[in-house]
Amino acid sequence: MARVVIVGAGQAGRRCAEALRDLDPEAEIVLLGEEPHPPYDRPPLSKAVLLGADPGNGLFVRAPEFYAARRIALRTGARVAAIEPAAGRVVTEAGERIGYDALVLATGARARRLAVPGAEDPRVLTLRTLDDAAALRARLLARPRVAVVGGGLIGLEVAAAACRLGCAVTVLEAAERLMARCVPPAVSDLVAALHRARGVTLHLGQALRAIEPRPGGLVLDAGAVRVEAELVVAGIGGVPNTTLAEAAGLAVRDGILTDAQGRSSAEGIYAAGEVARFPHPFLGRAARLESWQVAQNQPAAVARALCGEAAPYDEIPWLWTDQFDWNLQVLGDPDPAFELVRRPAGEGRATFLALDAGGRVRGAVLLNNGREATPCRRLIAAGKAVDRARLADPEVPLRQLA
């Protein structure tokens, strides 16, 4: 593999470069990122960074010297404006042409903007980048009344951080429950109770219609409720950055379509991380997963494909969120249609197991109980029917059931 150009220097771009270097000491690796920063992981942005706490190694995972030491030509502030597949090169915004033998698109996603009247107001923010996080933190320190639109993972983490910083916080969610895309209703209820107990006002089943500017503030109109705030944060999901891929003629459908190892519809072009939509062996369907896990490990499978190794990406999906002092981890597919078994684990902790019609564990939610993540993952991987009573019995170690 002569020269590999990776577009997007986020977590997935970094991981692909590192994994490729481990596999191939010779390859020339060029990592191009539009942001001014070296690669960083995003999870701390809505947690430690907003709170002004030390994210440890969790943000900039690598020291700045790392890239040169591993002979990864990292270029920040370098936005790629076009791909010229026939010529085998990319063109940067500055007009530079860079040839490639293989191209990896690790362009991730951007925050979805609100599409209601008034959403262009400068007091309406989103959170995706380190610069977004710094700007949001600066505003939160003035303790405005904050309205968070969207009760998903990022919206709720922002709500928790704003609340901890002393802001009065209201969350508006269009669905009838929180985190509806990733946890079953019983867990949504617990998360709602947590936020309410800490003083966050929740309005569920309330879709935002408009944001009205007022002297000194904003009013969010959601029909039945009106919320006053000085600052609005929209946490309504991400939009994959597929413009480059589309313009280059790649197959795209809410993500760049790839095989199980990141190969796109165009020869020699791959997609890594959150921008890729790929057939997921565990889910049994094509999926585009917005998680640290996929950004961490799917790019390594892409690097193996670049080196001609057949080793598809095959992990049981996993994500986590930290809200107030809670850590919630979601494994597998805890579909709301499944039966949910609660396994108590002492004060403030529990494991919820989602069983399909055949009594097999298909998913799990761990509430302050990361200790059971690995045994749960094994149970899910085993894919055999388990006894409900034993699952629910905290005296029976889960690893005995796997």
């Binding site: 440890g56 190694n57 109980n369 200790r371 059971e372 993540a373 690995t374």
Partner: protein
Amino acid sequence: MPDWHRVAEEADLKPETPLGVRVGDTQIALVRLEDGIYAVSDVCTHEYALLSEGFCEDGRLECPLHQACFDIRTGKALTEPAEVDLATYPVKVEDGAVFVRV
């Protein structure tokens, strides 16, 4: 100079069930394995999580947050995303009490 500190009773330590203790500001995870009791730093070297809340098996301690694994006997970081080893501390047991040198 490091000193011995009494941190737990031997009877509190069940096999492969980590126990978090503190000596001043130092957080320590104690673990009983077949060949004795070991003490490692309780704080994951990746981000911030207490390893004493993690899963323990085959002499390995797994972080409850992103599941990095550490060798309990040597403190070695075995799997991503952790890359920095854990500090280890000497342990002794006297009259049923567990001491660590910190």
